[in-house]
Symmetry: C2
Subunit: 314 residues, 2 copies
């Protein structure tokens, strides 16, 4: 990743299309439950109205009903689409973004992620569960009602495997987790810190690929997101909502993606890997250079992005 | 990569913003040569007017004047920005896209790529030269006047290294180049072929990550683009222009990126690697799933994309 300090672009210079709800009602709204596939999970209030709801994707990329099968086609390899693709509807209201919801709603999103992973991992054909959110059109969201997604895969994706392998090589050499070391170094330096609590550090990574890329990392070492205990989930919900709110204010409601980086569900607890959440506001376009080389030119130094986010109110 | 046949999106369904020139004149236009940094190379017509022109990028991500230096910062590693960042202006006219230029102009772009690589590789600090084009805003182009780019790097990017390693593992097992095998299989099957000549095969790759992703591969085995001889460059120019013209017609002038995948400039000829060119029309958004996993959901099967491009006239 290249930090291009000569073409530094300040927050105000980013071309943005603020994400705002255009219609007022959709299949994810309260009262339209029969327009989605049957509910997998819901959390309800005392009047039995759902507040968070998990349903299968109507047009799933993968299906649990598929028979696991790998075969060749000449020199190519193919595999049947075993897996799951689910949507977590974060609120019954159409117009509220995740950053505008209460901490409790964000907490419930995290519980829903956790509960679904624990249920899905019982199917041993499923090797990895990707937990993510696309917010806004520029981030690939096709539905504007606030939601997150889950995709369970019959393989560990190469990019995840590369991250795990890199972390293992560091551990083999140092006998310490690289993420624990990063948290210690960032917390001590403070230059790239956005927010911190006793349990969590939020910071702009040293080699940020994108302007305002922000990582949310628990201080305690766990490789699997689904092992998170109640007090961590609560602290995490506050950190996620606060960070998203800062990003929303600083960059005028940009599109963004977040992805939870976690260990493969069928593997035992790993000393060398440390789950965390990465947020990428989509304020720049990804060009040929990035595709070709996996090298990113970032016009905003992470220290500057972090300071800007620190200075924005909650 | 997942081909999501259930949510197949036909060519006509893609939301597109046609790329069309908005202004009429810029720093890359004839008559404005003094607005760019000093020219590195140009090809001129018989009246001594330039037709193709290479200049350093005004805001380079990397510079040859930097001193090569690697150092640590706590647990992080950094490296000085040694390298080069150049722009190949493909025509003196502001409004003409590469697909609309003559074969000769495309040929000259390829010669310019070749000549610049041969010049730059004499600097042994430079390990990789990335040759690419961003066309249209959605593809990351910030200047509309038709141009390509070159970035010379002091390292081989991890993604390039991964592709080389994958090809080497295939060669170690089979004692054949995987790209030679792919060309033979695709040419024999024909299902994914877009165009072919005696020297070149143009096809939609089996595991296409994006709708209408198209590869242009020379039939003869060379690892380094810069070794291409005159008849291959000529044939390639025809294939590039014809493919781009088909994509322009089929998808109504979409934004696109192309990247030349070639071996590291300081390495000797490789038996296991085969240079080629990959074109990615930017008709879908890249979302969190793709970022998190490096896994792509492609709603258009490559066989369908290839047939559509085959059927569009030249």
């Amino acid at each position: 990743m290249i930090i291009a300090t000569d073409l530094v672009r300040r927050p105000s210079e980013f071309v943005r299309v603020p994400v705002a709800a255009k219609s007022t009602v959709c299949q994810f709204c309260a009262g339209h439950e029969d327009e989605t596939p049957p509910e997998l999970l819901s959390y309800r209030d005392s009047s039995n109205h759902w507040q968070t709801r998990v349903v299968p994707n109507k047009f799933p990329a993968l299906r649990v009903e598929e028979v696991y099968d790998r075969s060749g086609e000449g020199l190519y390899d193919k595999m049947s689409g075993v897996g799951a693709h689910e949507v977590i509807v974060e609120t019954p209201e159409h117009k509220t973004s995740l950053a505008q919801l209460t901490d409790k709603r964000v907490e419930d999103l995290l519980w829903a992620f956790r509960d679904r992973v624990i249920d899905l991992k019982r199917d041993i054909r499923l090797r990895y569960v990707l937990l993510f959110k696309n917010h806004g059109e520029a981030a690939g969201a096709s539905v504007e009602h606030s939601h997150s997604q889950l995709i369970a895969l019959p393989v560990v994706p190469i990019q995840v495997r590369d991250e795990l392998d890199g972390a293992r090589r560091y551990f083999d050499y140092k006998e310490r987790c690289v993420f624990c070391d990063i948290v210690r170094q960032e917390s001590a330096s403070g230059a790239r810190v956005v927010l911190e609590t006793e349990e969590i550090l939020v910071f702009a990574p040293y080699a940020a690929r994108f302007p305002f890329e922000t990582w949310i990392v628990p201080r305690s070492h766990y490789s699997h997101f689904e092992t998170a205990h109640a007090s961590l989930i609560q602290s995490l919900a506050w950190a996620v909502r606060s960070t998203l709110r800062k990003i929303e204010r600083a960059l005028e409601s940009p599109s963004y993606n977040f992805v939870i980086h976690t260990a493969p569900v069928q593997e035992a607890a790993l000393d060398h890997y440390h789950w965390h959440l990465e947020i990428i506001p989509r304020v720049t376009k990804i060009a040929g250079f990035e595709w070709g080389a996996g090298f990113y030119i970032n016009p905003t130094p992470p220290e500057e992005a972090a300071q800007f986010l620190r200075d924005v109110g909650l």
